[in-house]
Symmetry: C2
Subunit: 340 residues, 2 copies
DNA sequence: CTGTTAGCGCCTTCAT
DNA sequence: ATGAAGGCGCTAACAG
């Protein structure tokens, strides 16, 4: 014999099992119309020779890739990592492979949409955590596959995310109802994204207005996403003549940075200053940070399920908004009584 | 005309450009032997119709997949995320796609090696951050592709990583040279991994012995990887009759948890207790944690390059060990003078 | 340099 | 239920 080496093909298995390639194929794919005995024989041979069908050849003939692409702007951040984990988990169960596309900075991103490296390689694309611009959307059409967005508002595509406006309202509302009036906000923007007007910020303005609290522009600081930036922003806030009694940060990571600065300045939390973030990052629990939790894993899971549904011809208009919830821990309290 | 809809094929492009499929193929693939004018024409047509070659069909004919698989035990942790980012960056530049396989817990892992979902789908496999067991190694042979390990000692495969023994030595050595003798160690083990005897622990024992410091088993606590676990371990350490003057944690995340417990207990760092970790996690900088930095991105980059080299027929025995370096910040200091 | 022709490994009618 | 044959989209070897 000569095929002791090299990869066996379907034809080999068929011959070895004494059937035609057609039957072999059907048997391996669990097609209904195959005699149980025949199937067993084929399966046995395949098993014995450690044979598995070539997904690429199969896909070529079938017209599908069996893959989905994930476009992610960050990998080393909890939110995105968790999201990817959830997505992968669902896709894996459906026997779909995950192709990873990292678009770190603006250049990566531009190149991704220009070259479209995912062309002809995926059955669907999941965009995680950033809004698609119109020009990008047009490029994506060339992919000619389903596109869904996860964890970011993307009006153009079916998406699953949280209600940022509501999340922000829960955070700021908590501060307001605690009696705070000098409420600062640290806006976190992704330096590599178009600085879209955040709903998390909108919540702040709306709520303060409703509470009859005049907006003090000096209490609003905008920084790049991240702990160090949060720390710096807080430094700025502390240097203010009339220091805020509370801080609303757009994310826990930023909040943690702020907390560090506050502590270093010798101030106590929450006695002197209250801090609230958004996310319910694992570190929030560790540091007793009051925050607005968002179901990250769930967002990933639902997104993947949405994709699977679309792949099976399901309706394309089924976006999902998941609830967030205020998690009160120990970085918030009523403001200290002052002689103001 | 009829092919205004549906995906164009190479044959279409060839016809449209007035050449044979062979020439079209060569032109698109940048093969040398094609008249500049001809190539230009083909490229123009392809461009005009937004045509790109089918990677799967191409791969089928060529015998390669153009993909590599990444096997990762965690996605939401900084170390792994960064690693993946680095790997992806290099592979992308080489026009190689990245298939992601997440093996979270032991069951995932077992299933991965049992089913080998990557079979026939990748040209190489990169195992990130965990040691391969013998049984698993045998299964991997069925993949019949290059396997390389990143960020973990895998004697069986070419790998790039740091020298854990050395890293630990730098950390503990720092404490010893500072004058500490009551040095505690918080060992971090991944609950989903085989609890291999860590070199980071070996460093501790060796160094203490060399310094003539008797080993006190109560000063060594083993916990699952993570901040909360580190915090708990520290609680245990603080409840000891003779409290340690310093703590060596296997990772920054664990160290940060420990720090939290220390602060909560009303003790000062580094005055009352020194803390040193390993990794140089971004948070370490934010929190002024003394640590032993390891070049994570670099490990990923080198690993990917090693893979590319292997794919081009390079030597298979070129493992790489990257240096770590002590980063002294503000959580370590000489022990307070006692009347001991 | 370029056109033609076999495959690459599998799926899917179409008959039987 | 099963075998035979055509086709999926592309590459490579061969003649020119």
């Amino acid at each position: 014999m000569s095929e002791s080496v090299g990869r066996l093909t379907l034809a080999d298995i068929a011959r070895l099992a004494g059937v035609g390639v057609g039957t072999a194929s059907r048997a391996l794919n669990g097609s209904s119309s195959v005699a149980p005995a025949t199937r067993a024989r084929v399966l046995a041979v395949a098993e014995q020779y450690h044979y598995v069908i070539s997904p690429d050849a199969s896909g070529l003939a079938r017209g599908t890739t069996g893959r989905v692409g994930l476009v992610v702007p960050h990998m080393s951040r909890w939110f995105f990592g968790t999201m990817v984990e959830a997505l992968e988990a669902v896709f894996r169960r459906a026997d779909i492979d995950v192709l990873l596309y990292h678009v770190g900075d603006r250049r990566d991103r531009q190149e991704f949409f220009q070259r479209l490296p995912a062309r002809r390689k995926v059955d669907a694309l999941v965009v995680v955590g950033f809004p698609i611009e119109e020009a990008e959307r047009q490029r994506l059409e060339l992919l000619d596959v389903h596109v869904v967005a996860a964890g970011g508002q993307n009006a153009d595509y079916p998406h699953v995310s949280i209600d940022d406006l509501n999340a922000g309202t829960q955070a700021v509302g908590h501060l307001v109802s605690l009696g705070h009036r000098a409420i600062a906000m640290i806006e976190a923007v992704d330096p590599d994204q178009s600085p879209s007007p955040s709903q998390r910020s909108a919540a702040y303005y709306t709520l303060l207005e409703e509470a009859g609290i005049p907006i003090d522009p000096r209490l609003v600081v905008q920084v790049d996403w991240g702990g160090v930036q949060g720390a710096e922003a807080m430094g700025q806030l502390l240097s203010l003549r009339s220091r805020p009694t509370s801080v609303y940060a757009h994310s826990d990571e930023v909040a943690l940075g702020a907390i560090r600065t506050i502590r270093r300045a010798g101030l106590r939390i929450p006695e002197d200053i209250s801090v609230v973030g958004i996310d319910d990052h694992p570190l929030a629990r560790l540091t007793d940070l009051t925050t607005v939790g968002q179901p990250v894993w769930e967002q990933g899971r639902r997104t993947a399920e949405l994709v699977l549904s679309l792949l099976e011809g399901g309706p394309a208009n089924s976006s999902v908004t998941l609830p967030t919830r205020l998690v009160v821990r120990r970085t918030t309290a009523p403001p200290a009584a002052t002689s103001d």
